[in-house]
């Protein structure tokens, strides 16, 4: 027996000791020069023109740079010159001239004005099909080129010389610079892109060149992105952290454990997830900060076809559905009380020039909520709507279809709210994945959806242009269609005065939210940022990227 047994035992012990030996050199190299971050999922692209969401903004904001950089202090964003050294705006407010710094790409080539022009043209080129092309529509000739009605030469972006860039707008657009700071307008290197083609360039990080503070040195999908300091960056001497690890994990519990054990330096959370982190606030190694977010969650009403129930084209029914939602309860249930109940669509972090928009406009739903403050009144309203559509007024026979992808809590909540307040039923349909969800949504197989919108820049228009019938986005959010709204929105084009703009914006918001009830805003984000105590100057802009750590340092 002994011999054979000895062999087996030997193998097992060797196995164990190598494993245990591994524990010894457990060197989690958290030097003071390395920043450890997490991301919920991988960026879909490293192509600045092809960006869609925060994951890629976060990375590209660190590796590439545009004319301006958004700096953020106490939840207020402001612009700081970056690749641009200075700029002038013509008297009519339509022509912008930028003087560029003499900066270099990571391969040593100069950053030129033409590369900024290339970026705008590439963004708008119809066959590239970039999602954010409409961000550039303020530029003269841009919309025409993008929609195939004009040519690239007619687009108002010119390189006057190697370091002078001129952009001409169709209308005087007061918030244009805020837009221009977006990743979408970062310069591009056509010489590199044309070598591999736009399709491959999308995720081809090995061939990228960088004009930002960091270079990407490794990217493993579902794993980790590693950034190293770019020594060719014009302001490299101000960049303190030499390495950034961005690990992909979506699990809050993992993030909390990472934070606790010092393997993660900062994380931004909001909504229900945030409550998982509450325990950390008491820790002496971690700082917690709260700031208003730039997003609104809302319930979509299918106004394309009226939905599967055929009821949602009726304004009274939509009104009852919007008013029946107890937004405080919604915030408690869905966001764990960590968000904010909202009664208007534009989040309160948005300013027009220097005036806070929400302070000016107030909660547009308040008066309607006061009027219909009981379940009986709401039911009467719903029944009135049913009568108008010529349907039976038996509320218990009404069933609305709520479409979602992965079982979220919103459906469960709405089902209960609508049953108890309106006496109607909600059926929850769960699509197995995004592709099926989109197929069902496009086929109008829904009455209700939950959705959220993150603003792209600091101006109410980033929220209110969603509801313009020709805007291209309203069709995803229920298809609100009002000529009155379109006309009113059109008057913004030649209005530059802040007070006048505020007035038009608030009229627009009232129209879609509290008169036509084209959408039911329910909650707003309040971001909670947890950072390692020794991490300084780690910024969290409201718009664009979640994090900006280019000039952060660890002490």
């Amino acid at each position: 027996m002994g011999k054979h047994l000895g062999l087996v035992a030997g193998v097992a012990v060797v196995g164990l000791t190598t494993l245990l030996a591994g524990c010894g050199n457990n060197s989690t190299s958290t030097t003071n020069k390395t920043l450890n971050l997490v991301q919920a999922s991988d960026p879909t692209t490293v192509d600045v023109n092809d960006v869609r969401n925060a994951n890629e903004f976060n990375v590209l904001n660190a590796t590439q740079e545009g004319l301006f950089r958004v700096t953020s202090k106490n939840g207020k964003d402001s612009l700081k010159l970056a690749q641009a050294k200075s700029y002038t705006i013509s008297k009519d407010g339509k022509t912008y001239t930028f003087k560029l710094r003499h900066t270099k790409w990571s391969d040593g080539k100069a950053v030129t004005a033409q590369q900024f022009v290339d970026s705008i043209i590439r963004e708008l080129t119809p066959k590239n099909g970039f999602a954010y092309a409409s961000m550039a529509y303020d530029i003269q000739g841009a919309e025409a080129f993008n929609t195939g009605k004009g040519t690239a030469n007619q687009v108002g972006a010119k390189a006057l010389d190697q370091h002078t860039l001129q952009i001409t707008l169709t209308n005087k657009t007061p918030y244009f610079l805020k837009k221009l700071s977006s990743v979408v307008f970062y310069p591009v290197r056509l010489d590199k892109i044309n070598k591999v083609g736009t399709k491959k360039w999308k995720t081809d990080w090995q061939d990228q060149v960088y004009n930002g503070a960091y270079k990407m040195t490794s990217w493993k999908t579902n794993g980790k992105i590693v950034l190293k300091k770019n020594s060719k960056f014009w302001n490299a001497k101000k960049v303190n952290l030499t390495k950034v690890n961005i690990t992909t994990t979506a699990k809050d519990s993992t993030m909390v454990s990472l934070l606790q054990s010092g393997q993660l330096d900062a994380v931004l959370t909001s909504g229900a997830n945030a409550s998982d982190f509450n325990k950390l606030a008491s820790s002496n190694k971690i700082t917690k900060r709260t700031q208003a977010g730039g997003s609104t969650s809302f319930i979509v009403f299918n106004q394309h076809t009226g939905g599967t129930s055929k009821l949602l084209k009726n304004t009274k029914i939509r009104e009852a559905l919007s008013l029946a939602i107890n937004r405080n309860a919604y915030n408690k249930a869905i966001n764990g009380g960590q968000g904010q109940a909202v009664y208007s669509f534009v989040p309160n972090s948005i300013d027009v020039n220097t005036t806070n928009y929400h302070d000016y406009a107030g909660n547009v739903l308040t008066s309607a909520l006061k009027q219909y403050n009981s379940s009986a009144k709401l039911q009467a309203l719903f029944k009135a709507g049913l009568k108008e559509t010529g349907q039976s007024t038996d509320l218990s026979k009404v069933t609305l279809n709520y479409l979602t992808t992965s079982g979220d809590d919103t459906g469960t909540f709405l089902k209960q709210q609508y049953k108890s307040k309106l006496g109607i039923n909600v059926k929850i349909t769960t699509a197995p994945d995004d592709a099926s969800f989109i197929a069902d949504r496009n086929a109008n197989k829904y009455d209700l959806l939950a959705n959220a919108w993150n603003g792209d820049y600091d101006d109410p228009s980033t929220f209110l242009n969603l509801w313009v019938s020709t805007g291209g986005f309203q069709k995803f959010f229920g298809g609100y269609d009002s000529t009155e709204y379109d006309k009113l929105y059109g008057t913004l084009a030649d209005t530059a005065d802040t007070q006048k703009r505020l007035k038009i914006y608030s009229q627009l918001e009232k129209l879609v939210v509290a008169k036509d009830f084209g959408v039911a805003p329910v909650s707003g984000a309040k971001n909670q940022i947890y950072t390692n105590k020794n991490l300084k100057n780690f910024q969290t802009p409201v718009f664009g990227p979640d994090y900006d750590y280019v000039y952060a340092n660890k002490k």
């Binding site: 699990k251 809050d252 519990s253 909390v256 454990s257 229900a272 997830n273 409550s275 998982d276 509450n278 325990k279 309860a329 408690k332 249930a333 764990g336 992965s406 079982g407 979220d408 809590d409 459906g411 469960t412 909540f413 089902k415 209960q416 929850i428 769960t430 699509a431 197995p432 994945d433 099926s436």
Partner: protein, 304 residues
């Protein structure tokens, strides 16, 4: 199996020590039942299982609470007299939800197992009964299904057919019937040439009757063992898939959903994670022990 020979078993049950040498010709099932009922651990676990099933079925009636009712002011409560297991992040009563979850998990596991066993057995019996080209054709199909990476296939099916209990049953069954079919085929190959089957065929007995009368009883013990093994496997599969978001979807619930919801609360309200985990482990452990006990009782090699 003939009842005439069974009367001896009563005496054997009283004290086996007194007649140690000559094996008593008691019926196979009586002997197995006797052995199983004297296996204290297995009996305990079988009892636990029965209790759990009863709680899963009738538990929600014991509590006045509705497992699907949200209470925004009673979120994440610790276990108490009203909320025996506490409440979840939406303020729903966890005890009744666990009952529902166990119900769904058990239904999925049992029905998927039965589906694959019944289909596999009939398939296997038919192919070996007919033999020849039918057999070799159907055998190819078994080989294909046997070589499928079952987890991948389950996931593909869940994606294609959508999430839901029905889909899950189908996906779990389709990836596991081939084993049962193989086994049934092997057994029928042995039985086909026995005198009583030949006799039955001569007498023009319909096929289904031969299958039911002669094949199935002879396979029973092996089938029971297979069932004992595949139920825990299916409980795992359901929990894991639902955990990954590929399985059953909220607002439906199952142990997998409860575990994945509990995982989000792991740090602050650990009981929301540990309770469903504990229930799952107890169920699977009990199934495994009962399965072991059954094997000891049914396997002739394990005659004590």
């Amino acid at each position: 199996m003939d009842s005439k020979f069974n009367f001896v078993s009563t005496s054997s049950a009283t004290d086996t020590a007194e007649q140690p040498t000559t094996p008593v010709s008691i019926g196979f099932w009586q002997s197995a039942g006797h052995k199983f009922s004297h296996d204290r651990l297995s009996m305990t676990c079988a009892t636990i299982l029965i209790i759990l099933v009863l709680v899963a079925i009738f538990g929600p009636m014991l509590s006045p609470l509705n497992p699907n009712q949200l209470h925004v002011n009673q979120q994440n409560l610790a276990p108490s007299q009203t909320y025996w297991f506490g409440t979840d992040h939406l303020g729903r009563d966890l005890f009744t939800r666990v009952c529902l979850g166990v119900r769904i998990s058990l239904i999925v596991a049992l029905v998927a197992t039965l589906l694959s066993m019944v289909f596999g057995t009939i398939y296997g019996m038919l192919m070996s009964y007919f033999g020849g080209w039918v057999d070799s054709c159907l055998m190819r199909l078994i080989e294909i299904f046997n070589s499928l990476p079952s987890l991948l296939v389950t996931m593909i099916i869940m994606t294609v057919l959508g999430n839901g209990i029905g889909t899950m049953l189908f996906a779990l069954a389709i990836t596991s019937w081939a084993g049962a079919a193989r086994q049934a085929r092997g057994l029928v190959l042995q039985l086909r040439d026995t005198d009583y089957v030949t006799a039955a065929i001569m007498l023009n007995t319909p096929l289904w009757k031969i299958m039911l009368r002669h094949f199935v009883p002879n396979m029973m013990s092996i089938l029971i063992l297979d069932i004992g093994q595949s139920i825990p496997a299916n409980i795992f599969a359901e929990a894991s898939l639902s955990f990954l978001g590929l399985g059953i979807q909220a607002p439906n619930t199952s142990l997998g959903i409860l575990i994945s919801e509990g995982q989000n609360q792991m740090l602050q309200h650990a009981s929301q994670l540990y309770i469903p985990i504990l229930v799952l482990v107890v169920i699977v452990l009990a199934f495994n022990i009962v399965g072991d006990g059954l094997r000891d009782a049914l396997d002739p090699k394990f005659k004590a």
